[in-house]
Amino acid sequence: MPSRQIIVTLGGLEAVANLFDDLAPKTSAAVWNALPLSETINHANFSGEEVSFPTFGLMWEREHQLYDNEPGDLGYFVQGPAICIYYGALRVISPGNVFGRIATNLPRIQEIARRSWKEPGIRIELRRKDA
């Protein structure tokens, strides 16, 4: 069965992300069930090319936590709780549950995410992509 997909809208730009229903089934389901979500992003201060936003407590279990992320990976940070986009080079300090990956428009998403270091208030929205 193909994985479910979500739309990530960052600063007005849409990208499609595949959920890791196989690798992180509980986290994917928790995020899917909570959609739509919207907030403003903050850029990471320590870990590198990462942006995140706070969420309500979607789940509290650790699952599929990685220290080596691919650009575009989506993580759920249990301790936050927060959802993160790992958009580039990282030195992961506290890993998140990696539950999906952006599959389209990544270069432009990276530009906007990088811009958020200098430009606060950039909005993000996650919603389900209908089949």
Binding site: N45, G57, P81, K118
Partner: protein
């Protein structure tokens, strides 16, 4: 008096309402922090210290939630929880003007003495979510990029002064 489930449910609903206000950017505590003035009329240090204080308190709540998860049946848990919740009340209220957050801690301390491990875990996690949003809203008050540029410039000037034979800089 033992805490009734209804009383805990009501308190948790109030925290969730306050969290939703933070999510919408409408929390009074954040507004008050943004208007705090320090001893010399400055607001940068009061803002950054408020953020740091909230972060420290949040770590205490996370620690308590971890304890409740690992040792749910221990008799000391509720005593530790009550003290942990009570500890930051005065500083939050009087120094950092986060009166609503202080009230939340005071009520949590009152209830905690009679809560079991599962209830404390639920309460602790609800408060962690509250802090996730509070910390973001406080962080939003701080222009990290501009501050970083200014700080690096300050460091360069300070280093030049430090190596200058006259103490007045090398340029």
């Amino acid at each position: 008096m033992a805490t009734t489930p209804a009383r805990l449910d009501e308190f948790i609903a109030r925290i969730e309402t306050a969290t939703a206000a933070l999510h919408r950017g409408e929390a009074e505590d954040v507004r008050r922090v943004s208007q705090l003035l320090g001893a010399m009329g400055q607001s940068f240090t009061t803002t950054v210290f408020s953020y740091q204080q909230a972060s420290t308190v949040r770590d205490g709540v996370a620690f308590l939630a971890d304890l409740a998860q690992k040792y749910p049946a221990e008799a000391w848990l509720s005593t530790v929880a009550a003290e942990q919740f009570r500890r930051p009340v005065n500083a939050l209220r009087t120094r950092y003007a986060m009166r609503d957050t202080a009230d939340m801690h005071e009520e949590a301390a009152r209830l905690a003495a009679d809560l079991d491990g599962a209830a404390l875990l639920r309460l602790g996690r609800t408060m962690m979510v509250y802090y996730a949003f509070l910390l973001r809203r406080l962080r939003d008050l701080l222009p990290f990029y501009e501050l970083s540029v200014a700080f690096e410039g300050h460091k360069q000037i300070a280093q030049r002064v430090a190596v200058s034979p006259t103490g007045k800089g090398v340029d």
